[in-house]
């Protein structure tokens, strides 16, 4: 998991290696400084004359001072380099991770996309990457630093006075054990607490979304009570977890000061020669300052450990995206041309879940001629959308085959296939940008010289084509009434156009492709019946050669099609003309009767 992530360091490997190296320089200097300070105190300030009186040695002070400044400069260089490289390495790593994920998501098939929620993907690309970036920076800059400080300080202490340094070693072991114990306990507590925290936020979200229900039933107090209980629970759980970590500080302080006092006592004894070992004042100062370094580094280490485990969730979530294998890929020698708009389903079975037992589509056999208009009708969950999604290979069949233009869809180049089979999805989106920008989504990529900027002539041609598509989709009429016409800016999610307008724009966008097969998946549900009829008429007159598949709830949208498919529970219940079905198909007759003769449907109509 970690290895896969690390493979995205890529071009920032150099910086990732240089950062800890620079930090080593800084740490080394940080360790040299106490030595120099010791010397400065010992042989400089505390220098004695022959009589043993403390008189100080100015020359020595200045000499060591110069050394210290040199050390400071080297340390500074190390520190700055560490900072600069660390920043580049971590932000670069984050950049690569984002790109890696985004690129990977672009290769996802519908099945892959279904697995992740939109919000989940956004969080992964933003917050989670940010967490990993911070963690990575910390690892590079601090994780090296703490152990290095620890090792160097310990070694230095041993060179000064092994017997006294032994105290540190013992202290470190004891403290290490205590910290490890506390942290492992605390971590467990936090791990249990975080889901509760997410639950709380989920309940807020629920309330925000359902505020009308809450208000309509006057349940504000009920919700407040519920929330208070939950937030009080969070309070208790997190307090308990955090209380565990409050033991860290005292454990640390007790150890540090025990060491200091012990060393002071023993050091004093040594200096005064009771033990006939020689130790001088400066050494004692140095030892005391190493004491802090050693134990601080241990503390830092424990903190880093906590922070890292907290970013572990982010690592796991990013990894989920990176590890997701796109299950639809281009074939090796793809066919680059779709001959015509005929569609054949041969013994098709389909399941969303590979291991699932129940087929969503079972035993589908259909023959559609090029240029035919086919209506598809059936209840929710009867797998109408699923059926048409197989045609442009948004999903792959489990058994059997789908043929377009006489060839298995799995043999085509994906882009070629999807350009020729244009789908207007049920849940459609417009993107922020002008109407023209949105329509241009349907413009096919140039096959060669793709990077050349388009000439003014080409631009005019494309725009004329877009306008033509809008006229076909009956979108031109309302666009022309807008103040900025085709340059009208569409807000994110298309919130500034109505449902029916949005649907017509989406149809137009699909038409710009000039596809051989056009699929409308319940794409006129918010368009009034008259306009709906107009659109269908335009289709019949203007693009007769295009095979058209129209999924609808409204019987009027499909009854004039050449043939109509009636779906029921993932199976084809009937397939024929309106008159045939009316005679032979019970479901069809049911739907027809319930919707006509005074039982029709106004459905959001009337946008002229």
């Amino acid at each position: 998991m970690i290895r896969r992530l690390l493979s995205y360091v890529k071009e920032y490997k150099k910086e990732s290696i240089l950062t800890p190296l620079s930090m080593i320089i800084e740490v080394a200097m940080e360790m040299v400084v106490p030595m120099l300070m010791a010397s400065l105190v010992n042989d400089g300030i505390n220098a004695r004359n022959e009589a043993g009186e403390v008189v100080g040695d100015m020359q020595h002070i200045i000499l060591i001072g110069v050394f210290m400044i040199v050390a400071a400069l080297i340390g500074l260089a190390g520190g700055i380099m560490g900072g600069v490289f660390g920043a580049k390495a971590s932000t670069g790593f984050a950049k690569n991770l984002r790109k890696g994920m985004f690129d990977r998501i672009q290769t996802f098939s519908f099945k892959n996309i279904d697995k992740f929620s939109t919000a989940g993907l956004v969080t992964r690309l933003t917050t989670d990457v940010n967490n990993v970036q911070n963690a990575y920076q910390m690892i590079l800059r601090m994780c090296m630093r703490s152990p290095m400080t620890f090792v160097i300080a310990l070694v230095m202490s041993f060179t000064i006075k092994p017997s006294l340094a032994l105290i540190y070693l013992i202290a470190v072991i004891i403290l290490g054990c205590i910290l490890a114990f506390i942290i492992s306990k605390a971590m467990k507590a936090f791990e249990q607490a975080f889901p509760k925290y997410d639950e709380l936020n989920a309940s807020v979200q629920e309330n925000v979304n359902a505020i009308r229900v809450v208000k309509a039933y006057v349940r504000e107090d009920h919700e407040k009570k519920k929330f208070k209980t939950a937030s009080n629970n969070i309070y208790k759980i997190f307090s308990a977890a955090e209380k565990l970590t409050t033991f860290n500080g005292p454990a640390m302080s007790i150890t540090v000061y025990t060491c200091i006092l012990l060393i002071s006592w023993l050091g004093a004894k040594m200096i005064i020669n009771t033990f006939e070992v020689d130790l001088n004042l400066g050494d004692l100062t140095a030892l005391l300052s190493y004491c802090m370094s050693i134990l601080m580094s241990l503390m830092m280490f424990s903190m880093i450990f906590i922070m890292l485990t907290m970013s572990a969730a982010s690592v796991r979530r990013i990894n989920e995206v990176l590890a997701e294998e796109p299950d639809i890929v281009n074939p090796e020698n793809p066919i680059m041309e779709v001959k015509d708009g005929s569609i054949v389903f041969k013994n098709v079975n389909f399941r969303y879940n590979k291991d699932g037992k129940e087929n969503v589509l079972s035993n589908i056999n259909i023959n559609i001629e090029s240029g035919e208009t086919i209506g598809i009708i059936g209840g929710t969950g009867s797998a109408k959308s699923t059926l048409v999604n197989l045609i442009s290979r948004l999903y792959d069949v489990n058994d059997g085959a789908v043929l377009v233009g006489g060839k298995d869809v799995r043999e085509y180049d994906l882009e070629v296939l999807r350009d020729e089979v244009s789908v207007v999805l049920q849940k459609n989106v417009l993107f922020s940008g002008t109407i023209m920008d949105n329509l241009r989504w349907g413009v096919r990529k140039k096959k060669d010289g793709a990077n050349q900027p388009e000439t003014p002539q080409e631009k005019a041609e494309i725009e004329a084509e877009c306008i033509r598509a809008c006229k076909l989709a009956c979108a031109d009429e309302f666009i022309e009434r807008m103040p900025d016409k085709y340059e009208t800016y569409i807000e994110q999610g298309g919130t500034n156009v109505s449902g029916g307008q949005k649907q017509r724009l989406c149809i137009a966008r699909a038409l710009v492709k000039k596809p051989k097969i056009l699929i409308l998946d319940d794409s006129t549900s918010a368009v009034d019946t008259a306009t709906d009829a107009k659109i269908r008429k335009a289709f019949a007159e203007e693009i007769p050669g295009t095979t058209k598949l129209i999924i609808a709830q409204r019987i009027s949208s499909v009854m004039n099609a050449d043939r109509i498919i009636v779906m029921e529970d993932g199976k084809i219940n009937g397939f024929g003309t309106h008159d045939e079905l009316l005679k032979s198909n019970e479901i069809y007759r049911d739907v027809y009767e319930s919707q006509t003769g005074g039982n029709g449907d106004f459905d959001e109509g009337g946008e002229h």
């Binding site: 800084e26 300070m37 300030i45 403390v54 200045i62 400069l73 500074l76 520190g79 700055i80 600069v84 660390g86 920043a87 580049k88 932000t91 670069g92 984050a94 950049k95 790109k99 672009q106 996802f108 939109t118 967490n131 963690a135 975080f194 709380l200 629920e206 359902a210 505020i211 009308r212 229900v213 309509a216 039933y217 349940r219 919700e223 929330f227 309070y235 955090e242 409050t246 500080g249 005292p250 002071s264 004093a268 005391l288 970013s311 929710t380 442009s392 994906l414 989106v429 922020s432 989504w441 349907g442 008259a530 049911d590 319930s594 919707q595 006509t596 005074g598 029709g600 106004f602 009337g606």
Partner: protein, 644 residues
Amino acid sequence: MPGPMGRGPMPRGMKPTVKNPGKILKRLIKYMVLDNLALWICVCACIGITVFCMTVKGTLFTRQLLDVYIPGIQAGTKTFQDLANEIFVTASFILVGIISSFVQARIMVRITQGFQRKLRDDMFEHMESLPIKYFDTHSHGDIMSLYTNDVDTMRQMVSQSIPQFLNSIITIVSVSISMIILSPLLMIVSVVMIAIMLITTKKISGKSGKYFVKQQKAVGALNGFVEEMMSGQKVVKVFCHEDKNIEDFDKLNNELFDSANNANRFANIIMPINAQLGNVSYVVLAIVGGMMAINGVGGLELGALISYLTFNRQLNMPINQISMQVNSIIMALAGGDRIFQLMDEKPETDEGYVTLVNAKKVYKPGSENKEYTIEETDERTGVWAWKHYHKADGTTTYKELQGDVVFDDVDFGYTEEKMVLHDIKLFATPGQKIAFVGSTGAGKTTITNLINRFYDIQDGKIRYDGINVNKIKKADLRHSLGIVLQETHLFTGTVMENIRYGKLDATDDEVKAAAKLANADSFIRRLPDGYNTMLTGDGANLSQGQRQLLAIARAAIADPPVLILDEATSSIDTRTEKLVQEGMDKLMKGRTTFVIAHRLSTVKNSDCIMVLEQGRIIERGTHDQLIEEKGKYYQLYTGNQIAG
């Protein structure tokens, strides 16, 4: 202290500059401290004790050891016993310091978690009181971000920044005092060095800040793009737009990298620069101090110099820390600003005084149970009355709740500038069924939202049982109205709990009866745990039709005299639709009902059909009348046939 969630350090769309930071800070401190004044005083006291005991006393001990005891013992003026005593005294001080720092940490946990709880509770409580308009005008993502990102930055400020700030200040003050006592002359040198440090920090952090602003912008741009593309990913696939997408993403991604790299770079080098400046300061002080001590200037002893040097090092750390905390405090202020904006939003006002009470009918003797008066009672009788207190003459009258609704020349607009409803006149007598038809945006849903006062009208009057709705207490008004919204929302909890939402004290049997009435019972019983099946994520495990049935059951259990039904337009299959329709029909029996209809079958048998266009009622009448009129309704109605 690690916080809940390693959430990103900066909230989305954060503006790095805060207007009026002083005012927000003041308000924030007031909000934070007032309730917990005693605890905060304890914290300050603990920090003081800790600093004194550990930093000051601990450092002074080293000086005493090197300056007094070791030479003293060597010279024979002190004994090891004296040293042992001193160590014992110091140890006691340090123990006190450790205990007080432990106490401080414990109190901080309470303060931090308590503060978060208070913040969340207050935010939620206030949010619940806000009018629907607030939720219309604020994106749900932004509201959520208040609870996650902003509360988190506030937590960081309370748990980390503020204690560190306090600690740093107390340390600086006490260490400075010790240093001045040791040598006022050297203190001047120290101050100069600190000034240099602060100036460098300011310069660098200014640069880094500039890039942080840029980074924020880049983050915002990237987030916006990612959000849009992720939600439109399927469309991207259908249009083979992946390459173009990657190209656009790369541009934004590289911009973010550039600014993030620069911002981090400058932030990263502040620490090492200050640390090394600290070392330089040490050297300068050692040289100056050494010369002073050797030449006997300012009465500085060499031992004191050593202590002074140690203190000087201790001074650098808190100064560094303060400069580091400034950034996070500014961020917290920005978060605080947004939270206060929520808290400052005006709650829904309710000037109503007419209340809904349980009532009983008292028949006049000899009237053969025809004439009766209404009297208030404590029992739940199924009869309700409006208790109307008349200020003018101090009398209270009771009026039976019947469900008579009148709109009198109502004008309404979501904003002052743009009216969406004009001159709406309508009346519904108890038990009538009123249907609204018309195109999207004609104002059908808006009208129903005025009856229960989700929005307040600009002009005209709405009367409920003859009482102006503005006079009725909102809670009571809404209790008397049952609503099935077009978009069904369910809550996390069991099916049982979700239905019971309509009447919190309903028994299990009542819930089941309501479910039966709504035609929901049969599918509920087929769920894995029946009525105890858990619903999560807005009932994601149910189909649209099933959710709709639950919403109907929820309205049914409330048993209101007036119903507002906003029919679902989304694709429900014919069979479920029949069930939903039947459920609704059963529910409508005997109640005044407002139906926003999309299917002719619902409309046909209405007592009155209102055809709306652009906020005006353009036609009204029964189905037969309207058909005869051959107007818009006729067009809509026959449109099906033409289209066919």
